[in-house]
């Protein structure tokens, strides 16, 4: 498929374009998945989206390694602090979601 695109476009397509395509498709996935969330669980939804958006921790870890490697103190410490902030969110977000979800019970017949 990639080669077809190259033929059609008369040149190589930048990987950014593919990333953008994935981004757009993921917005649609998010749209349909989130509309199917029951309104009763909107608070857990916010807590868990908050936890998963902390996957930005990936950037923080790369920043620490990059900073240590290149000797940039700013990158190192910005990365380390970002990693700690993300960890607060990851652990806090998933655990508080778990705590909330455990409370939702059906009527005992």
């Amino acid at each position: 498929m990639l080669s077809m695109l190259i033929l059609a476009g008369g040149g190589a397509v930048s990987p950014v374009v593919f990333q953008f395509a994935i981004f757009i498709l993921a917005i649609f996935v998010g749209y349909y998945v989130v509309w199917s969330v029951t309104p009763a669980l909107h608070t857990p939804l916010m807590a868990v989206t908050n936890a998963i958006s902390s996957v930005i921790v990936v950037g923080a870890l790369i920043a620490v390694a990059a900073g240590v490697g290149s000797g940039s103190g700013i990158s190192t410490w910005a990365g380390a602090v970002a990693a700690a902030l993300c960890a607060v969110n990851i652990f806090g977000g998933f655990l508080v979601t778990q705590r909330m979800l455990a409370m939702y019970k059906k009527k005992q017949k």
Partner: protein, 468 residues
């Protein structure tokens, strides 16, 4: 052990899919717990993959291990200790952390462009600079905006709108300034860090000036909107890092927050723009406090309320923000249990914007062990009020105000309301007769079939239980 780039990319896709499944699980309470587990596994995969790719050791291992451990312990403690009534401010606080983390990652990438693979011919690539500055800008707005939202929700600052003179022009000027700086940064090839810091400082200010004019009861929209922003910031940096887990997750969170904002705005029948431009309630409150006529109301005691409800066959409980403030959720459930023992049919009706965040009331009722199949959304229960003997309104006001339907000039005109006035008797638990957030008087207080129970919500409910 180091991973090949392709294998790492594959693992990041696996973690993104697990995140999608985590959200998918929330379509029902039964599947939600498994979904949350998927989310945790996805996060673990993303972190381990990254550690294997960058190959940590020595100093970086100590910093990463220390940072994750410190943050993780703090997060775990907060998650265990936080009362459910404080969930809106907790979520706002968490958003601020994501925003700040995004700013820090963007700064780190700017100072170590080589290691982030965004250099070309000795300068940082133009589109990488665009992604970085967008990530930093949205992150900074999310950070300070969430701090303000937190302070308003937590009571550290007043929930009423703060209107700076010329605030729209100020915000517009700040936004223009940011756009100009981003343009200059891209043109310079990222050689001048002052431009980057300029963008961050302006957007930090913008976050404050955007949120301070928005009043407390509009916070459900603000919190959802900041949720969305934190997603877009993550996605922007995902492009910089070429990381699919970040791009996909950012898009998911971004659209999730946007949908929640939309649902909240629809719940108030207001445009998104009118909410985020702020100032709502400030004028009406000023007008209402001037000339309020004294109208007769029927007041009741706990004994009266207990008597009426005991003899009812169907009672619908309508909780609002006041329930959260008074921490009355457990007492309310006990009252419902006592009524059920008397053979009364009890249900709960929840307005989409009741409380301070989407789903706030559902969580509180769940905490008090109310089965979720006794709790109904507005459109599912509204027709039931006509058949109900009693509507028991506790700490909700504007969402029950008939003026939304009858008075086209009312600030809440057109807002969908719970038709509690259709019930044979309305019992209205409220601290005082003061108007609600929107600053408008509620005709319901003065209706013939309304009995006002003026007291603290928790105290009143406890007294009713005693009299049952």
């Amino acid at each position: 052990m180091t991973l090949s780039a392709n294998l790492a990319a594959g693992l990041y896709i696996v973690s993104a899919v697990l995140f999608i499944l985590a959200l998918r699980g929330l379509s029902s309470p039964e599947t939600s717990r498994r979904g949350n587990l998927f989310g945790m596994i996805g996060m673990a995969i993303a972190i381990v993959t990254t550690l294997l790719v960058i190959g940590v050791g020595g100093k970086s291992a100590a910093l990463i291990g220390g940072g994750l451990a410190l943050g993780g312990i703090a997060g775990a403690i907060i998650a265990r200790k936080i009362p459910m009534t404080d969930m809106p401010q907790l979520v706002a606080a968490f958003h601020s952390l994501v925003g700040l983390a995004a700013v820090l990652v963007a700064v780190a990438a700017f100072y170590s462009p080589d290691a982030f693979g965004i250099m070309q011919d000795g300068i940082i690539k133009g589109y990488s600079l665009l992604e970085l500055s967008l990530g930093a800008a949205i992150g900074a707005i999310t950070f300070t905006g969430s701090v303000i939202a937190f302070a308003k929700l937590n009571g550290n600052m007043s929930g009423s709108p703060i209107l700076l003179p010329g605030r729209h022009i100020l915000n517009l000027a700040l936004a223009l300034g940011v756009a100009v700086l981003i343009g200059m940064l891209m043109k310079s090839g990222g050689t001048d860090p002052r431009l980057m810091w300029g963008i961050i400082i302006l957007t930090l200010i913008l976050g404050v000036t955007l949120i301070i004019p928005i009043g407390g009861a509009d916070m459900p929209v603000v919190v959802s909107m900041l949720n969305s922003y934190s997603g877009w910031a993550a996605a922007a940096l995902g492009f910089t890092l070429g990381n699919l887990a970040l791009i996909i997750t950012g898009a998911l969170v971004g659209s999730s927050g946007a949908i929640l904002s939309y649902i909240m705005c629809k719940g108030m029948n207001r445009g998104f723009l009118s909410v985020i431009l702020g100032g709502f309630g400030a004028d009406a409150a000023a007008a209402a406090s001037g000339d309020r006529e004294e109208r007769p109301v029927k007041r009741g005691s706990a004994e009266d309320a207990a008597f009426i409800m005991k003899n009812a066959s169907k009672v619908i409980i309508v909780p609002g923000y006041g329930l959260a403030v008074a921490q009355a959720q457990h007492a309310t459930r006990e009252m419902a249990d006592a009524l059920k023992e008397e053979g009364v049919d009890v249900a709960y009706a929840i307005h989409p914007v009741a409380g301070r965040m989407p789903g706030h009331m559902n969580v509180l009722l769940a905490e008090a062990n109310v089965p979720y199949d006794e709790v109904f959304e507005l459109e599912d229960i509204n027709s039931e009020f006509a058949n109900a003997d009693v509507a028991f309104v506790i700490g909700a006001n504007d969402v029950t105000n008939p003026a939304a339907k009858t008075d086209p000039s009312s600030p809440i005109a057109g807002m969908p309301i719970l038709d509690v006035d259709k019930a044979s008797t309305v019992l209205f638990v409220k601290r005082s007769l003061s108007p609600g957030y929107a600053g408008i008087d509620n005709d319901l207080f003065y209706a013939d079939n309304t009995m006002m129970l003026l007291s603290d919500a928790k105290k009143m409910v406890e007294e009713i239980i005693k009299s049952l």
